[in-house]
Structures are given as C-alpha cells and as structure tokens.
C-alpha cells in the first residue's frame, strides 16, 4: 500500500513537467542556496602519480591559457571539465604514510588512525538530518571475503566504521520498498495508520528499555547506547513525518518511479565479471534516492583498498583480457618508473581510467535529471577520491581529488586548483561550507576551506 501511494505521487510529479528534460535551462550559477547533497565516490589503490624514481605524476590536470588539459587517467572527463574542479597538491600528513589502511582511515576523517568523525557523517547529521535517510553508504564488492573495518572510509564516530551495503537489491528495498518506512502520501489507508502507530509505540518501549540499561553502565558503553538512541530517534522522526498529512515535502528533483535494472544473481555477486553492473546499480540507487529526496549525503565505495578485484575480467573494458588475471592492487605495484613496456603499468593506467569513466557516468546520471533551473548535478557535490596517491609508493602527498557539481552556485567549477601542499582536511571543510555549515577546518592541521574554492 505504501509503495503504491508513493508511485502515484511520483508519477504525478513527472506528469506535471513532461518535457522537463527537453527544456533543460542553463546552469544554476548564483542561486546562492548552496549544495543540497554530497556524494563521495571512492575507488581503491591510488593512481599513477609521481613514481618512486621521480617520474612526474600522470594524474594531475593542468590549466594553461584558460584551458584545462586532462591527464590520460582523467581523460574520460573530457567535455565535462567545466563541471569539475581538479584539486592538486593536497596532503594527508605523514602518519601511516605508505599504508593503504592508514590512508583509508584518514581519507574522510583527516585524523590519524580514523580517530575522528568523517565529513560525510558530520554532514549527514547536520545538513542531512532532515532527510528520511541521513546517510547512504553503498558498496560494490566492498565487504568481499569478510573485509575488516580498516577497509571502510565512513566513520560515524571516532574510531568506529560501518560497513557499506554491498547488495543493490537490499539497498533499493530499504529505500523504496521498506516494510517499515517509505515516503508517501499519508492519511489514505487506516491499516497503514494503525501500523505506524504500532511502530511508534514499539520504539517508545525501546527508548525506555534503553534508558533502563543505560543507568547501569560506564561511560564508554553509554556512548554505544547513545548512538543506538540516536538511531532509534532517526527512525522515529521518519515515522512522525509519515503520520503528519502534508508534512512530506515534494521531491526537490524529478523523482521518477524508481526501478532497479539489476540482474546479477546473488550467488555471483562477488564475481569480477559483474563488478561494473553492481557499481552501476548502486549509482542508480544513490541517484534515485537523492532525486526522490530520501537522502542528501551518500558514499559510494567501489571495492576496497589492496583490492584483489581482477579488473582484467571486467567485460567491455580497455583492460579486459580473459586469458590473464590482473588485480587492482597487483597492477598498482607497477614498479619504480612509468614504464610503458610494463604490462602492470599499462593495465594500471587503464584501470584508473575505468574508474574515472564510472565517475563520469555518475555525473551524467545526475546531469540528466532536471532540478529547479538546472540539473541535479548543479545542486550536488560529487567528490572523487582514493586512499593513497601513487599506488606504488603509497604516498599520502599530492592526493588525487576531483570535485564536481555546482553546489548551487557555491563552487566555481571549470578549473584546476593548486593548493600547494595544504592538508586535505581543508577540502573536507570546503565541502561542509559549500553545504552551508560553518566549520573552521576538519581534522588535523586544517585551517578552513580552501582559498577560492567556495564562493558566496
């Protein structure tokens, strides 16, 4: 019942503007409202950066004569340069430099060892708190083979990671077809109303159970229950919204009736050959959830660091070679030099390009959906990142970051930003500022948003 009402609402929205996508107006430039959403797109095992023997980075984009020249790894972004900022020269500090897990822990927290909250979680609890789902963490083969917590990049609280959802079907069901909660037009169905009331009284009992347990505990275990309490409150708020007729805001962007074009059997979900299809499906889920106003902050994690993903088995890709197994992490150790006669190196470049092409596909999906006077991409920040810079040296300097989206006019795109060795926390802080939060920095040795990145 919930689902049906929801679809009716969604279709209604679509009918109201049948030609929206054909009549796409110019870019939103100075609406000043800031970014409505954030998507972090993570891929594993770095890029071909400055090599061990000092070959210059093959990642960084350069600006010359008012034009941006893309590196070969960034080449798939050709034609979309105007929607991106290519951020060069950021560093994550020297602690655990040389380590994949050390980099993953710092990547979104900017605190050594993951001892801080990650920026996405902070934004989820501030900007994203009013959305039905505060945070969406989706993975593609990110939890393969019992991956340990040090493979994950999102930290809800210091030292605590969560695992991404690796199954697009489960993610889709939770968002769009939930038995507990779905955004919809309430008030239509007495059975639904009764069910909502029952849910609320159950949660009420749980809150009291929690309070009773909490009284017996020391402070650390209390923190555990405080997080639990917040999670219950989250679900409670969502129920409350559904109970109040008229309280559901219309979706900010065109919210098409969601569907999931995903045909991978669960038994083969960890097969490298279907990796791209899983990632595509997760991108769809993320974009649809955001288009329908279900969430404002999300992280997409492709694989995990030191990945055994056999990228040469991805069909249709440049590096596809059914007769040869080339893993992501294996290729990343291409040697001390950028040597084009070395198969590892050539494959590594091709793999990185594949990731960038996927990032581009995400940007295009967002750009295909009208929103206000532009597209969803104009109101979304999309960060491309990985946990080390050069995959062979594991350096934490000159980190590869690309930021895309107009942030509702708060980010001036279409340029290369040379940061001269500032801490990457400044970029993380910039994301927060672009979303309307005032933060003075994020994590260690961070002093505020990057100069000239955020306007207005």
């Amino acid at each position: 019942m919930i689902r049906r009402t929801f679809l009716r609402g969604a279709l209604g929205a679509a009918v109201a503007s049948p030609f929206a996508s054909l009549l796409r107006p110019g870019r939103a430039t100075a609406s000043g409202g800031g970014a409505r959403r954030l998507i972090v797109f993570y891929f594993p095992d770095g890029v071909a950066g400055r090599s061990q023997d000092g070959d210059a980075s093959l990642w960084e984009a350069r600006a010359s004569g008012g034009r941006i020249s893309l590196s070969e790894q960034l080449a798939p972004l050709a034609g979309m340069e105007e929607r991106c900022v290519f951020v060069n020269g950021l560093q994550m500090g020297s602690a655990d430099e040389g380590s994949h897990p050390g980099g993953a822990k710092k990547l979104l927290t900017n605190v050594d060892g993951g001892g801080g909250t990650s920026i996405d979680q902070y934004l989820a609890s501030t900007v994203g708190a009013s959305a039905p789902f505060r945070h969406l963490y989706l993975g593609a083969q990110a939890t393969v083979n019992g991956a340990s917590g040090d493979k994950f990049i999102s930290y809800p609280s210091p030292g605590v990671t969560i695992a991404p959802e690796d199954d697009p079907r489960a993610a889709f069901r939770r968002l769009f077809d939930g038995t507990i909660v779905a955004p919809g037009v309430p008030g239509a169905d007495p059975a639904t109303e009764a069910e909502l009331r029952r849910q609320r009284s159950v949660l009420d009992v749980h809150l009291q159970d929690l309070a009773e347990l909490r009284g017996r505990l020391g402070s650390l275990e209390q923190r555990k229950l405080d997080v639990h309490l917040e999670s219950i409150r989250d679900v409670e708020r969502r129920l409350a919204r559904m109970e109040m007729p008229g309280a559901t805001a219309p979706p900010p962007a065109s919210c098409d009736a969601p569907s999931l074009g995903y045909d991978v059997a669960d038994a083969s979900r960890y097969d490298a050959a279907v990796f791209g299809r899983i990632l595509d499906a997760q991108m769809d889920v993320m974009v649809q959830a955001m288009a329908c106003g279900l969430t404002r902050v999300g992280v997409l994690q492709g694989g995990h660091h030191t990945s055994e993903l056999i990228m040469s088995r991805i069909p249709g890709s440049e590096m596809h070679d059914p007769g040869f197994d080339m893993r992501s992490h294996q290729a990343s150790h291409y040697g001390a030099r950028h040597d084009r006669s070395n198969r590892l190196f050539v494959d590594y470049i091709a793999q990185r390009r594949w990731w960038v092409a996927k990032y581009r596909a995400l940007l295009e999906r967002l750009d295909a959906i009208p929103e206000a006077d532009g597209t969803m991409l104009d109101y979304t920040l999309v960060l491309l990142c990985t946990e080390v810079s050069d995959g062979n040296t594991h350096s934490h300097h000159d980190m590869p970051f690309v930021l895309a989206g107009g942030a509702g006019g708060r980010i001036a795109t279409g340029r290369v930003l040379e940061t001269g060795g500032r801490r990457h926390g400044d970029l993380l802080a910039s994301l927060a500022v672009a979303m309307g939060q005032s933060v003075g920095g994020w994590g260690y040795e961070s002093h505020g948003p990057l100069t000239g990145l955020v306007t207005g």
Binding site: S94, A95, D96, E97, G98, S99, H100, V111, G113, G115, R134, V144, N145, G146, S148, G149, S157, G159, I162, A163, E165, A170, R173, R174, I180, V181, Q199, V202, V205, H206, Q208, D209, E212, L213, L217, G218, S219, L220, E221, K224, L225, V227, H228, E230, S231, I232, V235, A265, A267, S268, Y270, E308, D325, Q330, S332, H333, A336, R343, N392, Y444
Partner: protein, 708 residues
C-alpha cells in the same frame, strides 16, 4: 626433520630488523609531538610506542624491546630510521635519543602480581547469534528454517550431456517460452532460481533454443503428448508444518572487524546505526507475521504471564518491574489476546535488552562481577552460539551459577548439546579465515568449495570438542565425503563425513586442507606471502604491519621460474628480508599445493622445494627456530612449540570476550596460554576454563579504558 633450537647466530641484525615491522594503531589521538616540543621520552613512549611494544617494553603486537642488549646507539638509530611505524621522520635526533633512553630503563617484565581485569561490556548480538536466538525462541512452535520456495524460489539445475551454448527452462509457468527463462552456466552446471507459484507445473529443459529434454532431477514426469515426457514440479509454500522462521539476518549490516580480530563478535566497535534499527524492526515484524495465531502457544496464561515467561527467555533474565509494565500495557493496548502477544513478541525481539548480551555485572566491593544470568548468556552464546536454554536460566535462578563449580558443570553440560558443534564450526571458519571461500575467484566449483570448508570446520570442531590442540597441526584424518576425499587424494569414506586418512604430504592438520591452501592464494598462482602471514597471524598470533611503502607487488607469473624463485628478491634485499624472513619460508612449505589446493610435484617442469626455516617461532626476538621440509614437519614444529597452542588459547579468549586483548588483559591471556600449553592440551578443557574461571567473571572497575 625439524628441530627446535636456540639460535645464537644472529643478534643485532635480527633485532634491529624486528624493531621496524609492526604497525599498530595509535589510539593516543591528536597529541602528536610538534617539532618544538621538548622531548620527553616517557611521554613519547607512552603515546607512540606502548600500544605495540607494551608499557614495559615486553612486546605486544610489536616485538619486545626490553631488556635491550645491542647498545644505545643501535637503538637510537633504529628509532630514528624506522619509528614510529609509518612516520619515521616524526621522531629523529633528540626525540629518538629521549625515547631510546627511556626504553633502556624498561624491565620487559609484565607486572602480573595484580593482573588487570577485563572491562564490562555490552555485546551486540552478531547476525549469527541473532538468527540462532530467534530460531530457538520459536522452537516451542516446532519451527523449521528451511527455504520456502514461494519466497526463496525454486532452483533448476542441469548438467548438459554435450557442449551447448544456451540452456533454458520452459513450461506451464512461463507459457512454454524457450527464451523466457535462460539458465546460467557455472562450473559445468546450468542453474536458474525463480519463484514458481504454488501448485503443480510441467516443464522441459531447452538446449540451444531448440532441443527439448526432460529434467533428470525432477521427482516425477507426465506424458508430453508427443511420445515423450514432461518433468513435473510440485511447489508448496512454507514447506513443513509448524512456524517457518523467516530470514532475519540477510539484510543486517555485516559486523565490522578490527584488523587482527578474526571473529564476528568485536563488541567494542559494534554500534547500532539507523539501518540496524530498521532491519531489527523489520525482522521482528516478519517473525511476528510468521508466528501469527500460534503465538499463544509460546507461553501459557494471560498477557502478564506471557510477558513474564517469554520475556525471561528473550531477555535472558527476569524482567524488571518497569519492563513488565511496559510490555503488559503494550499487549493490552491491542485489545485482543493474539494481537497483544504478537505486539509483545515483536517489540521484545528488537529491544536493546534482547539485542545486547550484557556483561556488565554488579559491584562486588573490588570491581564488578557478572551475575548468574549474565554467566548463563556468556556460556550459551560462546558454546552454543545461541540464547540460553530454559534449563540454564532455571539453574541461574536457583543460584547454581553463583560459584565457579556450578559454572563449570553447566559449561560441561552445554558442550554435550548438539549445537556446540555448530558453534565450534563457526569459530573454525572465522579463525582460519575460510568463511567466504565462495567469493574467491577460483576454478574449483562453488559447491566443492563449500564442502572443502565444511570438512575443515568438522575437523576443527571435532578436535575442539574431544581432541588435543596438537592435532590441529599434525593430524592426517579429515571428515570427508567422496568429493572432499577426492580433492585431497584420499579414498572415499564408507559414509559421508566419516574421517578419511590423508596422503602423507597432507598430514599436517589444517595446513594440509585444500580449503586453507585455496583460501591463501591468488586466482592464477599460489601466495607464499598470504600463506606465511596466515601461519604467523592466525596460528602464532604474531602480527605484521602491511608492507612498507615501495614494497613491490606480486611478481608476475614467469614460465621459467618456480614461485619460490620469483620471490627470492624478498630475502635477498635486506629491507624486504626484515619482514619476509618470517613469512616466505612458511609459505614455501605449502608450495606442494597450488592455488586450488591441488597437489603438485613440479612447477613449469621445475622441481619444487618445500623446505624452510621457522624463525623465532616463540615470538619475534626469541631466537627459537625450527627447520622443516613440507607441511607435516612445519605442522609438527608448530605442535611442538608453546606459541601455537597458546595462540589457540588466545584466539578462544578473543572469541569468548568479544575483543582483542588489551594490555591490561595481557597477564590473564598469557596465563591462560601458558597453562594450556604446559598442560595436556585438551581443547575441551580450555573452552570451559576460559569461560568458567573467575577470571572471566570478574570485571574491571575502571570503566573508561576500553579502546576500540
């Protein structure tokens, strides 16, 4: 032959190398020394070194530093060049000297006259425990947990008699359309899972879009009207009688596991997100919907009696007055006996009181002591993987778990329960890391991999419930069915899962199992590194840092060299050798088995050398060695050591406590390991000892010291 001997041949070089190779998290947070800070050796050591090397330099995850024998200059140089791990530039010059001077004052002795106590904990049920608890709470209703074809689907499986390019299923359920339901090939077999509606159906298998054949695995056939037969499929929803227990775990987020903690029980990092809350609620609702009218049979009497009886089972202790009132009024608000009880069931199964195992205790004057009900839970979840049976709760209520003797008796009793084997199997697959064999890119069919894992699980569980720890490293017996036996080069057993005798080169306990050999390898080659690190981490509890910056990757397959030759660089370069001297040789011991776990005598026509040196078996820097050739000798060296048995005890301690040991726990853990290694090494006794002794029961009064 192998021999354990004290080596005197390598001194300073070995120790120096050892200093550099363990990475540990620095929980000290942002208090990093600035360049202008005056060097305070003790403070620096405490914040930067102690978490790995121990407060007394006794060694923890990192090597022991004290007593230091190689002179101050060597120590200063080692710190300046290699420490803190991953950021050696952070402590050089005066900093390195200050830390070295402090290290030279350390005794290296753990102060164990007043050993620390484990912390109090709330332990979120793992998905495994959560599902088992719900299953057993519904057991009075005669529940079954088998798959329901009406929700889980029906699986068609067909092995074609000849090479084909497509196989599909066509029948009454899809209008006999040969294009509608294509099957998928995996390891020679074509499969398809579809939800087929309840009722009787007829179908055929279609080869290459045109050849229609009957399904040989169908249970019945019917004439097809063309002189042949159709296969018959009879679908019945739900399956057996009684309440079908729905799937409660597949949508729950996986547990996060800290590095070096292999189990699904890491309590200190188990936090409940809103995704958890939703899925717990959804699972509880599914259970209530599945139970329906049968709920009244869960407990007799009125609402209050229901809350009392079912509540004690679900919360594993009597309910507080407040809880009783809340749940009774929840029931009464429904205004109907059945709906009221279902509301209670549903609320209890997602309540924090159900979801967390309490190891919180009550003050006992010195610290805290777990109460009898908490002990019942600890015993039941650790040994049976599930909620305590009524009889155990009754025993707790009668005071029989108030003393150590009673707890031991109860633990012994639980080990005779059939569910103990399932728990030991879960322990085995997580301890050895063979849980997700099916996700690995290998040619061995997923079905065979599942059986290889099962064989290893059964073997380890058998040793745990009735054997000595040495067998884990030396035994040549393996429970097997015909396929498992064939994969191990043994003859098939008379009955499936009877033990078979493995060929001599595999008589090395778990080391000789194809599951382990296949797990620690790549898709196209073996991995001496993964195998060596497996032995160090999982079997010896000796941890390693990830490879340093600029370590090379896996050398490419080279048709003119053996794997051992390709990895030679690791031990020829001094930098590489500082770690790889401990790793590679152990991996080379496995080289008689390829990446699928199949035996091999040569590689690219070249002979394979499986000899090696097990260096510092008793701990980095202990200068204890064993020479071996092949897995049986490596296994025998492990069995002869103290390190492997005490590591096994440590792993069980970690499983029982739901955490890695902290430094405060170290005296207790060492004591358990030492006693176990020195005794008769019966694993069953160890299982009881770790849980039943007062050391498990007493908890620290300091509440803030748990670090994730």
């Amino acid at each position: 032959m192998f021999s354990l001997l004290k080596s005197s041949a390598w001194g300073a070089v070995g120790l120096l190398a050892a200093v550099g190779f363990l990475a540990c998290d620095d929980p000290g947070g942002p208090a990093r020394p600035g360049p202008s800070a005056p060097p305070d050796g003790a403070a620096l050591y405490a914040s930067q070194c102690a978490s790995c090397h121990g407060g007394q330099g006794q060694g923890r995850r990192g090597p022991a530093l004290a007593p230091w024998h190689d002179g101050r200059d060597a120590l200063v140089a080692a710190i300046a060049d290699t420490m803190p791990f991953g950021a050696p530039a952070d402590c050089v010059g005066a900093c390195a000297e200050a830390v070295a001077d402090y290290v030279l004052t350390l005794s290296g002795e753990l102060q164990c006259d007043a050993p620390g106590l484990p912390p109090r904990r709330l332990r979120l049920l793992s998905r495994r425990e959560h599902a088992a608890a719900i299953r057993d709470l519904l057991a009075p209703l005669g529940g079954t947990s088998g798959a329901d074809p009406c929700t889980d689907g029906t699986t068609f499986r067909f092995v074609p008699p000849r090479a084909v390019s497509s196989v599909s299923v066509a029948g009454t359920f899809n209008g006999w359309d040969p294009a509608a339901w294509p099957m998928r090939e995996e390891g020679g077999a074509w499969t398809l899972t579809r939800v087929v509606p309840e009722g009787r159906h007829e179908y055929k298998i279609v080869l290459d879009g045109s050849e229609w054949v009957a399904d040989p695995s169908a249970s019945a056939t019917a004439p097809d009207g063309f002189g042949g037969v159709n296969s018959v499929l009879d679908v019945r929803c739900g399956g057996a009688s009684g309440v079908r227990v729905p799937d409660v775990t597949s949508a729950l987020p996986p547990e996060t596991r800290p590095e070096a903690y292999p189990f699904d029980l890491a309590a200190d990092v188990a936090y409940v997100s809103s995704v958890h809350v939703e899925e717990y609620l959804a699972a509880a609702k599914r259970v209530a919907d599945a139970v329906g009218d049968a709920v009244v049979a869960l407990a007799p009497g009125d609402e209050a009696a229901f809350v009392h009886v079912f509540g004690r089972r679900a919360f594993r202790r009597p309910l507080s007055e407040g809880e009783r009132e809340r749940y009774v009024s929840l029931a009464r608000a429904e205004g109907d006996a059945t709906r009221g009880r279902l509301a209670v069931l549903r609320a209890m199964l997602a309540s924090p009181a159900f979801l967390y195992r309490s190891e919180v205790g009550a003050p006992d004057g010195v610290g805290y002591r777990l109460d009898a009900f908490e002990m019942a839970s600890a015993l039941s979840f650790s040994l049976l993987g599930t909620t305590p049976p009524d009889a155990l709760l009754d025993a707790a209520e009668r005071g029989e778990l108030d003393d150590e003797r009673g707890v031991r008796a109860a633990a012994e009793g639980l080990l005779d329960d059939a569910r103990a084997e399932a728990t030991m199997r879960a322990f085995a697959r997580m301890w050895l890391g063979v849980e997700e064999l099916g996700q690995l890119p290998r040619d061995t069919s997923p079905a065979l991999r599942a059986k290889l894992r099962e064989a290893t699980e059964r073997f380890v569980a058998g040793v745990m419930l009735g054997g000595r720890v040495d067998e884990l490293f030396t035994s040549g017996a393996l429970p097997a069915d015909a396929d498992v036996a064939a994969a191990h080069g043994a003859s098939a057993p008379e009955r499936a899962w009877d033990a078979v005798e493995l060929p001599p080169e595999r008589r090395a306990g778990v080391l000789g199992h194809a599951s382990v050999q296949l797990r620690y390898a790549h898709s196209d080659q073996t991995s001496p590194i993964a195998r060596g690190v497996f032995v160090r981490r999982r079997l010896l509890c000796q941890d390693f840092a990830p490879p340093p910056p600029e370590a090379g990757g896996v050398p490419e397959v080279d048709p003119t060299a053996t794997t051992r030759e390709r990895f030679r660089q690791h031990t020829e370069s001094a930098t590489c050798a500082s770690c790889h001297q401990y790793i590679d040789d152990l991996g080379f011991g496995f080289e008689g088995f390829d990446h699928e776990g199949r035996p091999r005598r040569e590689e690219h026509g070249l002979p394979i050398d499986t000899s090696g040196l097990l260096r510092d078996v008793e701990g980095f820097g202990t200068r204890t060695e064993a020479i071996f050739s092949g897995l049986p000798e490596l296994g025998a060296a492990l069995a002869a050591s103290d390190a492997a048995p005490s590591c096994f005890a440590t792993q069980w301690w970690r499983f029982a406590h739901g955490a890695l040991e902290r430094e405060e726990d170290e005296c207790l853990v060492r004591e358990v390991g030492r006693t176990f290694a020195a005794g008769d090494r019966s694993v069953r006794a160890l299982l009881v000892e770790v849980l039943a002794s007062e050391r498990f029961r007493r908890r620290s009064a300091a509440l803030e010291e748990v670090t994730p």
